[in-house]
Every structure is written in C-alpha cells, then in structure tokens.
C-alpha cells in the first residue's frame, strides 16, 4: 500500500514537472516564432501584386469572350 502512495507522488511530481517544462518550451518557441514572423513578414506583404493579376485576368477572359463572339459571327456570316 505504501508503494501506491509513492506511485501517486511520483506521478504528481513528474507529471506536473513535465507539463510545466512542455508549456515553458512552448512559450519560448511561440515568442521566438512571433518575433521571426513580425520581422520577416513585411517583405511578404504585397497586396497590390495580388490585385494586378486579377485585373489582367478579367481582361483576358473578356478578350476570349470577344474572340469567341466575333468568330461565331464570322462563321454565321460565311455560311
């Protein structure tokens, strides 16, 4: 029966110790990660770039549509 208590005690010491070690490491890594992200992210932020392709894309698709309509009309006219 004594051993059951000592098992419980060691579970408490190791368990609590491990939870603290794990979360302390997590705090450290999270802080480090946040610092790195904040430091490097401004380079990655490029909102205008994202807009440009969309604009050209709509024009492209408009062109495609235009071409399709014109060629259909030409076909009809020739036949």
């Amino acid at each position: 029966m004594e051993s059951l208590i000592s098992q419980g005690l060691s579970l408490m010491v190791f368990g609590m110790g491990f939870v603290f070690v794990f979360l302390t490491l997590l705090v450290g890594m999270t802080t480090l990660m946040s610092k790195l992200v904040v430091k490097f992210e401004p380079v990655a932020v490029a909102v205008p770039k994202k807009l440009k392709p969309r604009v050209t894309k709509t024009i492209d698709s408009n062109n495609d549509e235009l071409v399709a309509v014109i060629s259909a009309a030409v076909h009809k006219y020739r036949s």
Binding site: I5, G8, L11, M12, F14, V19, L23, L26, E41
Partner: protein, 433 residues
C-alpha cells in the same frame, strides 16, 4: 393461458431489478437536468437517454453477446461457452470471471460460441466498441474542438500558457487523493483508476473519456458523467473560489488591448505545437495531433469545407454516438456502487484545486510583471471548459469594474488549459498505462 404467462414472464415489469429501476430514475434525472436546467444538453441528452436504453430489462442493449448468453443461461449454450474457455464449470459467474480474464484470442472464441448459440451484441455495446473502445470518438471531437479554437489571444500573450499549466495541478492532486483513499482502505482504486479520476480536473470531456477508456474502462460512465456535469456547473463552482483568493483591487486591474496576430503566426502555431509533441511526448500525439490538425484546417483557409465539416456536421454526429455509448456504461451493475460517489467527490475537488492554482499562478505572474498588468481572474480559465470558464472570468471582472472586459484575455489561458490537460493526459498514459 400459457401464452399469456409467457408474455408476462418476458415483460419488462416482471424482469425489472431494483438496480435497473434506480438507474432508470438516474437517466430521467439526467434528462431533466439537460432539458429543464440546460446543463450541457448536447451531451447529457444522449447520455441520459443511453442510460435509460441500457437499463431496459431483458433487452441487454449494453451487453456483449457473451454477457447476454450468460444472462439467459441456457444449459447447452453455457456448456459451449465453458468448452471454448477450456474450463469444466458451467456456472455463469465462473464463466464470466474466466471470460473477463482471458486473452484476446480466447475472448473472440467465446463470443463466437455465444453467437452460435443465437445471442448477439447489444446495440449500445456495438456503439461503444466503435466509438469509444477504438478511441475514435474523443479524437474526432478533439479535431472539431481544434477547428473551433482561435489561438489568437494565446499568441498575443504567450505567458498565459503558464496559467493553463498551473491549473493542471488539480489533476495530479486528485490522483494523490484517490490513491490516499485506497491506502486508507475506504475505496479500492488502482493507480490507473486514480489517474483516470484525476483527469476530471482537466475539465475537458473528450480528454477525460479518452484517458478513462485507456486506463480504466470500468469507471468510464461515472467519470464522463462527472466531467460533463461539473463543466456545466463551472459558473457555480468557480466564482466563490476566485473571490476568496483575490482582492478587490486585483479584480479591478484592466488589461491592455491584445495585439493583432498575423495569419502566418496562426498557421505556424499548430505545426510548431505538433513538432514539440512529436519530439517530447509521443503519447500525447493522438490527442494533440488531432487538435492541431483541426486547427490547421481552420487557419490555413484553403480547406474551408473540411474545417466547416469538422466543427459542425462531423462533431455533431460523433457527439450523438459518444453520448449514447457513455450512457451504455450507466448500467446498474457498473454504476451503482460506492466508487461512483467517490469519483463524484474527487472530481469536484480536482476542479476546485485546478481553479485555485490557476488564480494563484496569475497572482504570481502579476507580481513578477510589476503588479498592475495581469488580472488574476483570468487564471481560473486555465482549467479548460472552453468557453464557459473564460465567460466566468469576464463576468467577475465586469462585477468589479463595469468597463473591464476580460473575455479575450481569458481565452488565452482557456485554450492553454486544453493543451495543458492533453499534455497531462499524455504523461499519465505514458507512466501508468
């Protein structure tokens, strides 16, 4: 007249045992708490109803084919069972004992013999095997919880992780309490039972069910009921402890607005957490792995359909089966004894100690930080119970100072508590599993 007699002998009223009657009342009581008092209705409705189903006399919904065969005790079936077990006695109790201690291959042989005799596994028994014994349901729910969790407040103030760690002390203190009760000879808990009871203090339903299903399945019903009932009682249990441990001035501390968190940080966090788990504690990998996966689905924003399913449809489906399966463990012979009472008492102690340690840790952090930046009320949210515990912190903060909104600050320790109790669960499974 003979037919009438047969019908009467097969009826529920004739076969009802006192224990079953008590459990039917317990099941109805759970339904009452869920429907009228709105205590965690999403879980207590299925659990209560499952409990009623499990105690229908003669139906044997919660029993395996072998247990059903032993209940009806037809001599030729009993002979077949004892032959499969390789014992000579055909006394049902002796057979049950031999069956429970036999290895997996004998187990399978005996249940096949029972099925040959015309008995089958009960419906709830099958649900239990598929959803809980396999470990699937708690893990899928954990994925859904991950998909619902916003780590923003935690990332903005990583120190709150310490509060989530401190609140786990309740778990381990209760393990000691359970072990102490067995040493004094009041109850009979093994170290595995004690660990499974302690996890109630983690205030996290799926974690409690997962740990109990691995470490001590025979206590699962009581542990799950205790865990979910106490989670519903958080607004009643926590405030007195929080008021007793803090001064009026401390409750009035206003915290500074949290900084904005970028999307990259939110995407990197679950991946980083998973790597840390993989490197340090593989035993927590099932729980935290699914949790991180769910969270990544949410934050990466390219699989919105999966994220949506994980946090709505899937978690609801699994909750139904989880609840019914937990209810199946509320059969009279497994639930009605002194240990259930012990579990309920130990569970609430675990909860109180966890709350107190969270608050004390917050006070300590506040002292270290200079005494005017962390409101100790957010410490109590370190026991998980998302988001109820955070709301309680917010409510008490508003009582002390009507301009003090602590909700977002309390969400940090709240989700830290989920991580903390999953880590604690991993440690327990590693050490005593």
């Amino acid at each position: 007249m003979d037919k009438m007699m047969d019908l009467w002998l097969a009826s529920g009223i004739y076969n009802l045992q006192a224990g079953q009657l008590v459990m039917l009342v317990v099941g109805l009581g759970l339904l009452y708490l869920a429907i009228v008092k709105k205590f965690e209705p999403l879980l207590l409705v299925p659990i209560g109803f499952g409990g009623i189903l499990a105690n229908i006399p003669e139906a044997g919904l919660a029993f395996s084919a072998v247990e059903n065969a032993l209940h009806f005790a037809q001599p030729e079936v009993l002979d077949a069972l004892s032959a499969a077990l390789g014992i000579s006695s055909s006394d049902p109790e002796v057979i049950l004992k031999a069956y429970n201690t036999s290895n997996a291959s004998t187990h399978a042989a005996v249940s096949l013999a029972a099925m040959d005799g015309g008995y089958s596994n009960g419906m709830l028994y099958n649900f239990y095997n598929v959803s809980i014994a396999s470990g699937a349901a708690p893990l899928i729910i954990f994925m859904g919880v991950g998909a619902m969790t916003d780590f923003g407040p935690l990332l903005a103030n990583p120190k709150t992780l310490f509060l989530g760690a401190a609140a786990q002390f309740g778990i381990f203190a209760t393990v000691l309490g359970a072990v102490g009760l067995s040493t004094l000879g009041i109850m009979d808990f093994s170290i595995q039972d004690a660990a499974a009871i302690g996890i109630i203090g983690g205030a996290d339903g799926p974690t409690a069910i997962y740990v109990a299903s691995i470490l001590s399945p025979h206590l699962l019903g009581a542990i799950a009921v205790a865990a979910y009932s106490y989670m519903a009682l958080v607004p009643l249990i926590q405030p007195p402890i929080m008021r007793a441990l803090t001064t009026e001035a401390e409750r009035k501390i206003t915290m500074v607005q949290l900084r904005q968190i970028s999307k990259t940080e939110k995407i990197l966090f679950p991946i980083m957490l998973l790597l840390l788990v993989a490197l340090l504690l593989p035993d927590a990998a099932p729980l935290l792995g699914m949790f991180c996966f769910g969270n990544l689905l949410r934050e990466c924003s390219v699989v919105d359909r999966l994220s949506d399913t994980a946090q709505n449809a899937l978690i609801n489906i699994v909750t139904i089966f989880l609840g019914l399966s937990v209810g199946s463990k509320l059969s009279a012979d497994k639930f009605l004894d002194l240990t259930t009472l012990g579990i309920l008492v130990l569970g609430i102690i675990a909860f109180c100690i966890g709350t107190a340690m969270g608050v004390l840790m917050a006070k300590l952090l506040n002292k270290i930080e200079g005494g005017n930046s962390i409101n100790p009320l957010i410490g109590s949210a370190g026991v998980s119970a998302v988001p109820m515990a955070a709301r309680v912190s917010n409510k008490l903060g508003l009582e002390a100072n009507p301009q003090n909104f602590l909700l977002m600050h309390a969400m940090g320790p709240n989700v830290a508590g989920v991580i903390g109790s999953a880590v604690a669960a991993g440690v327990m499974i590693k050490f005593v599993g």
